[in-house]
Symmetry: C2
Subunit: 387 residues, 2 copies
């Protein structure tokens, strides 16, 4: 059966930051209102919330009903989707499916995370719930510690030096510096990387993305309706998700992001494109090693060479495949369950040619790749400018 | 556009209990394997997990990837759906939509909750995350306390006495006594209700359902494929969800379950039926007052008279509208995020005429109504026997 063609008709976002003056619901409301205003719609059929840790960090589950109510949309169907820090991408995918399958004509997807209300061990414990509680987190592992294992192994297997990851951070910070919604707007001087404090050897402060508070929203409808509603809709050409083992130690090949490979492959196939057709990609660069591994998994580098597009400048805004064009997780910040929706908002702005100083010239086709944990979940979307 | 007709081809469940010998993943695996065996399928396209409190009670989020992996289904798309204790019903609905909309041909829906690994205030705090954290739980409210407010108000407004709620519990326990998967299998003697310990005046021990560990699973496919695969598929004739305000104090009419009314109404409309056509209903009887209010909201009693079908015996297995036919939340137990899937499993067994001692004679059409919290979320499914 034919599924309906889906488009993004509105986007909204809050700055990623430590929002001491706003709770989870207030952050969400800001993004929701901006997106509704952008699309010039007042009502939606369904509200899909992407959130990773509300139950742990804000003592608040049941976010579907809460946010539908707080946004004045009570009555509409609402649910929360959770897939660790891929919650936002997965919520977007559920929204796309709802419109594509004919369930709903207008859907609001809201990714939100209030990440900074807990500190110290309470926060670390919450963040580690995206790992295997019995076999990873229970033994003291954290996401950074596991990323360090991956990075060390990669450097050993492929003979890669630490400084070859530096250009990922320099690029992210250069783009973040131009983005008013970014958490960190400082440029990174070449050489600073080598002197950065170590988080989990060899992962340092500039390898790993900061968790932040944030909320981002998109409004979806059919492309057919979208063309009558807004000047510049953005089509969803591909949407796919896949899983890998949650625990890193269960993977036959730890250095290959299988879920990312499967999800991106399916999304390319739906869109009828090859990786080389893309004008930009928002990857899940929670750690520089993950950025390198994603470039390999989704067709931009050979195995062991995912660092090369960074070193060679292909990932810069003028390069062959710009990534982290608004700062990525590293500089825009990683508001966990909201991150995947930020990616979609940023690509939509690029494809509308409304990205201001962050604009990728003539962008027409973009990939959003959102990971949960160390790649246990992957969600890929291919978005296209309507010409 | 026409959506595809969806059917349940496999069901599985674990006994609801305090499972000291099994973790969340083990409970889920038991139900998943039983459902796959029942449907005689080995692979699925997607795994949808209904779970309310894994992050809080088991320090485990990211359950989609975890359970897909643990069940040998890694690679398949997987996500967790959360809508408080309506998580199971909402997961079922997402599964139905995935098949109906053409995303997937075979979907596994698994509801699971490991509710008893935390005790005392830790557990109470976790259970209260389904309420409004800032304006209800933060002030010390619990689900039982809010149910007590509702019940007291109902008794006052409509001149109803406490003993008029007793038949709900007697019916649930009578049916639970025959169900090997029920948490409580004791009969309730008439009169015991009046002497029961008070939980939150006027809610007593026999008014409120126990939280338990449990897991239940269903396998979905198109009805067209189902007819070739199993002897007795069960059709999903209606599927709908709606929300009300999360906080009780924000409702214009606290004694009317608006979300339940909307969801059931939409599901009836999809199925082309009237309430009187139903042969049985599994309602969300986490408190007897909610059972009464649901009977009013979904068309079985007038306002203020939801207790009458209980007092008059209509809810018994031989009555006009049997409810809680395997014990309901009260006696089978309330494994929170799994409860909605248990309801679907139980109705499927009734419609297959495979309910053993719990069978409702000649059952052909059943309603599953799953609530989140005090009705902030409602999910309704109408299931039908394929003749």
């Amino acid at each position: 059966m034919a599924m309906r063609d889906v488009a993004i008709i509105g986007v909204g976002q809050m700055p990623v930051s430590e929002h001491w003056d706003a709770g989870l619901r207030h952050l969400a409301l800001g993004a929701i209102q901006a997106a509704l205003r952008d699309a010039a719609v007042q009502q939606v059929n369904a509200v899909i919330v992407g959130n990773a840790l509300g139950g742990n960090l804000s003592a608040q589950n049941h976010l579907g009903a809460l946010l539908a109510d707080f946004a004045g949309l009570a009555g509409a169907e609402a649910l929360r989707v959770e897939a660790a820090d891929a919650s936002g991408g997965m919520a977007l995918r559920q929204g796309v499916l709802a419109v594509a399958g004919g369930l709903a004509d207008t859907v609001l997807v809201i990714g939100v995370e209030k990440a900074t209300d807990r500190t110290g061990s309470e926060r670390d414990t919450a963040l580690a719930t995206v790992l295997d509680a019995d076999y990873e987190a229970g033994g003291g592992a954290t996401p950074a510690a596991l990323a360090a294992l991956l990075m060390r192994r990669y450097m050993h297997e492929h003979g890669v030096a630490l400084e070859q990851f530096e250009p990922f951070s320099i690029n992210a910070h250069a783009n973040g510096a131009l983005n008013a919604n970014a958490m960190y707007r400082n440029q990174l001087r070449p050489g600073a990387f080598a002197k950065a404090p170590v988080v989990a050897d060899p992962v340092n402060l500039f390898d790993s993305a900061p968790e932040g508070d944030g909320a981002a929203a998109v409004i979806l409808t059919t492309t057919e309706r979208a063309l009558d509603m807004v000047a510049q809709p953005v089509r969803v050409r591909g949407s796919a998700a896949a899983t890998d083992t949650l625990a890193l130690h269960n993977r036959a090949d730890m250095l290959f992001l299988r879920a990312a490979n499967l999800a991106a492959g399916r999304a390319y196939e739906q869109a009828g494109i090859a990786p080389g057709d893309l004008d930009l990609a928002e990857l899940h660069d929670s750690f520089t090693i993950l950025a390198a591994l994603q470039l390999e998994a989704v067709g931009f580098a050979r195995r062991g060479e995912g660092w090369k597009p960074a070193v060679e400048g292909a990932i810069l805004r003028g390069g062959a495949l710009p990534i982290s064009t608004f700062g990525g997780l590293k500089a825009r910040g990683n508001p966990l369950g909201a991150t995947g929706v930020y990616q979609a908002v940023e690509i939509a702005l690029q494809l509308r040619h409304a990205a201001g100083q962050n604009q990728v010239e003539g962008a027409r086709l973009g990939l959003a790749l959102n990971l949960g944990g160390l790649g246990g979940t992957a969600v890929a979307h291919v978005l296209e400018r309507v010409e």
